[in-house]
């Protein structure tokens, strides 16, 4: 889908590279909260996404006719990023991702170990423990984490292939709460930094990219927009815009005015 993406916008040589895989889109989307998988698929196309996060759940034995994610958002078309949403211990997260690897055969995963239902804030102690266990078991771990730059460093040292700090609480739509910490993480990291959670509208995504992040992951901002397909397009363009602005290097801020028209030659 290159022509839908950065490449088409004149960034043909600007790729997001995660664990040796190369992506022309820097926007990763979740597959939850959509009215239907069909809408989900349309949003994924509109977003120009190449990676999607997916959850692992029990097969519903009482209903075989249930609509299947894989029939709409095919693993042939999108890189599946199995997540561990709903896991509150390292043990649960590791068990879940081992099942995911068996189910899909992929070792690139998104780890998240949450502390409580109310905030879904990451439990950084358990997260680091799980990351170490998974990496030693051969997984490529992209990790949802707080914006604590020290823990971000530890996770990178542990071998994580992607650092995914929250912008704000999952599903809150409050944007990037702490740009200073995100900037610190970007400055120190040698693996991709992808803001995960908190983005509410297009400008939030642009701000994340302008801070120098390598990508943005979102779900609610698109799925709960009044028009999810239109918002998916908005997010695609916002991520590209923010990336380009970061690469372009913004003008300085001034306390007073500075005219754009020449002062010479006035009548």
């Amino acid at each position: 889908m290159e022509d839908n993406n950065a490449a088409a916008e004149g960034l043909s040589d600007d790729f997001l590279i995660v664990a040796g895989r190369s992506f022309s889109s820097r926007l990763i989307i979740g597959t939850g909260k959509y009215e239907t998988y069909a809408q989900n698929a349309e949003a994924a196309r509109a977003a120009g996404a190449e990676m999607v996060t997916v959850a692992l759940r029990r097969v519903n034995l009482s209903n075989h006719d249930e609509d299947r994610l894989t029939d709409h958002v095919s693993p042939q078309d999108y890189t599946y990023l199995p997540n561990t949403a709903g896991c509150f211990t390292a043990e649960d997260a590791v068990r879940t991702l081992k099942l995911a690897r068996e189910a899909g055969g992929w070792d690139l995963v998104k780890l998240e170990v949450l502390a409580d239902q109310k905030t879904l804030y990451p439990d950084m102690q358990e997260t680091l423990k799980a990351a170490e266990a998974l990496i030693s078991d051969g997984f490529e771990v992209m990790v949802y984490c707080s914006d604590d730059p020290v823990y971000a460093r530890r996770l990178e040292e542990a071998g994580c292939c992607g650092i995914m700090p929250l912008g704000s609480l999952i599903g809150s739509g409050l944007g990037i709460q702490n740009p200073v910490n995100i900037r610190l993480i970007v400055e120190q990291s040698r693996v991709p930094v992808i803001v995960d959670a908190g983005v509410g509208t297009a400008s939030d995504a642009a701000i994340a990219m302008e801070l120098g992040c390598d990508g943005v992951l979102m779900n609610t901002a698109i799925a709960e927009a009044q028009d999810p397909i239109m918002m998916a397009k908005a997010m695609k363009n916002a991520v590209i815009a923010g990336r380009q602005a970061y690469l372009a290097g913004r003008m300085g801020k001034k306390r007073y005015a500075d005219p754009s028209s020449p002062l010479a030659g006035l009548i």
């Binding site: 959850a55 029990r58 097969v59 034995l61 299947r68 099942l99 995911a100 068996e102």
Partner: protein, 66 residues
């Protein structure tokens, strides 16, 4: 004999293989993963794995999630 699948009781004949069970469950073997008594059973072993009384099975697949 009785086993548990995803937390629910099921009665199956002795000697039933995991592959056979998956078939009777009517679920597409592709894209699912099975854990038997907390141990993952690779797809390659579904055909040779004989269920035993009291087995605890988890049968999972991918669904939409953020």
């Amino acid at each position: 004999m009785q086993i548990h699948i995803n937390g629910e009781k099921h009665i199956v004949d002795r000697g039933t293989t995991l592959a056979a069970l998956v078939e009777t469950l009517g679920s597409d073997p592709r894209g699912i993963a099975i854990e038997r008594n907390l141990e993952i059973v690779p797809k390659s072993e579904h055909g040779t794995t004989i269920l035993e009384d009291g087995d605890q099975l988890e049968v999972v697949q991918f669904v939409g999630g953020g």
